[in-house]
Symmetry: C2
Amino acid sequence: MTQPLALGIDIGGTNTSYGIVNRRGEILEKGSMSTTGHAATQDYFAAMTKTLTPLINKFGRENINGVGIGAPNGNFFTGEIVFAPNLPWHGVIPIARTVSEALGLKATLTNDANAAAIGEMMYGAAKGMKDFILVTLGTGVGSGFVANGQMIYGHDGFAGELGHVIAVRDGRKCGCGRNGCLEAYASATGIVRTAHEWLNQRDTNTLLRPGKGSITAKMIHDAATQGDALALELFDYTGKILGQTLADMVAITSPEAIIFFGGLAQSGELLLGPVHKYMEENMLNIFQNKVALLQSALPDADAAILGASALAW
Amino acid sequence: MTQPLALGIDIGGTNTSYGIVNRRGEILEKGSMSTTGHAATQDYFAAMTKTLTPLINKFGRENINGVGIGAPNGNFFTGEIVFAPNLPWHGVIPIARTVSEALGLKATLTNDANAAAIGEMMYGAAKGMKDFILVTLGTGVGSGFVANGQMIYGHDGFAGELGHVIAVRDGRKCGCGRNGCLEAYASATGIVRTAHEWLNQRDTNTLLRPGKGSITAKMIHDAATQGDALALELFDYTGKILGQTLADMVAITSPEAIIFFGGLAQSGELLLGPVHKYMEENMLNIFQNKVALLQSALPDADAAILGASALAW
């Protein structure tokens, strides 16, 4: 008995993960390869072809409906990656076309946050929802907005840049060159920046005083779970900035839920507690106490593959 | 020869406008009645029935596909108006059901800004667009967000509250009880509030110095067209607040265009010039120079009727 399958590929800054997925969202086989360490872009695609061709042959090319690809700054409409600061390549890379030609299968691209949103909608915390927001809290802040059961791509495929909404007018510098973007505060790197600022300004006793290397979001998480006051305040502040911004987003798309995904989201209530409190405090009355804040129901590694694969259906 | 028709009703704070519309968006007959001055809600509906029944009979009940109603705070899903501060009624009014029973026709409700967005999409400046934002700048600020060719209603029908996005953190008080809402700055009443604040603070020579009654948005418009520096600065400031907020909205839905509708929008370039300048200045690079700012292509009075009528198809 053959069943229709999809190949999901998640291109990350360090690793490229892939998996063969069936319509029920079961990953039948998965693996990963390095994204970096290739002399040129074509060497990366050659390595991908060498890795994936045996996998495709194993499950039968005729059974594979198509390839779905998630990548930072991936554009659904053009199939291109455009100036992705977290990938080793520069300029515009025609990912969908290149992968399609290399593997001999139809290929569709979207950005990693949109792929995660589709994964949650088909197989995860957003199953059955028609209106929700997926927020990825990792090195940066990404998002996928779903309305009427459809991903909002915008007219050019670039919609969903929640990380570059101005959270603090004239605030700190963002990697994009502007000031005060949400990403500069509510990402793993953002909370670390806040920690450094506060440690420079204050004389507080905290587990976060440097000694063994530079501060990481993981260290702040660990200190907070041990009751460290500064670490807890860092989560409160980060949650405030994020909650205020999300209150504004709710006013626009009125989602049933906001789903959090990625490294910083794994801090769970430490972060989502403050996010919830400040979001409710800042929300127009008609939206209060209606929006669920949920953690992703998919394991991080799988969600990206599942989301990407869902593009192939 | 009969053609399919729709009855569009726009319920405003002062007047209720209505019209019989064909599929091409031609208003075959229109009129209006007072929204206020009725002792009770049922008297208003009785007056509406008395006014509209002859119109329905004239065009033939069998030719009328249905009734579309636009009203402030109208909810598409429930057919109810919920706590509309600008209407004479309080609490929850089941408009769609009441009108349907009174007129014997299927009736659908949405809020006035959504109705205007649908009108622009079917017959106006957004014809053929699948991703755009309609912004109404009147007494308040309303909006309709369209993505993938569909109105974003949100899970509960309350989406599109652009007027209650926080434009100035800890800014001036809004009618909703919160601080710094866009509506408190970028509406007809908002620009008048700014004018009052500045006149109290400054000693500038301006045409806006009170003398003949209180300041209106129209007076500020007229002064600006005569080159009054303070009036021009008022448009610049209002455009700045609006442009900054729209830059954030573009990052979420990446629209092809933003269409402006309502009294304050009729100031045209006086307002849209600054809006455009500050929106571009505050926008993430991938969105720059791509979003058209347009004025509504429908006469104000007709757009509301046309938009409402479009719900009936």
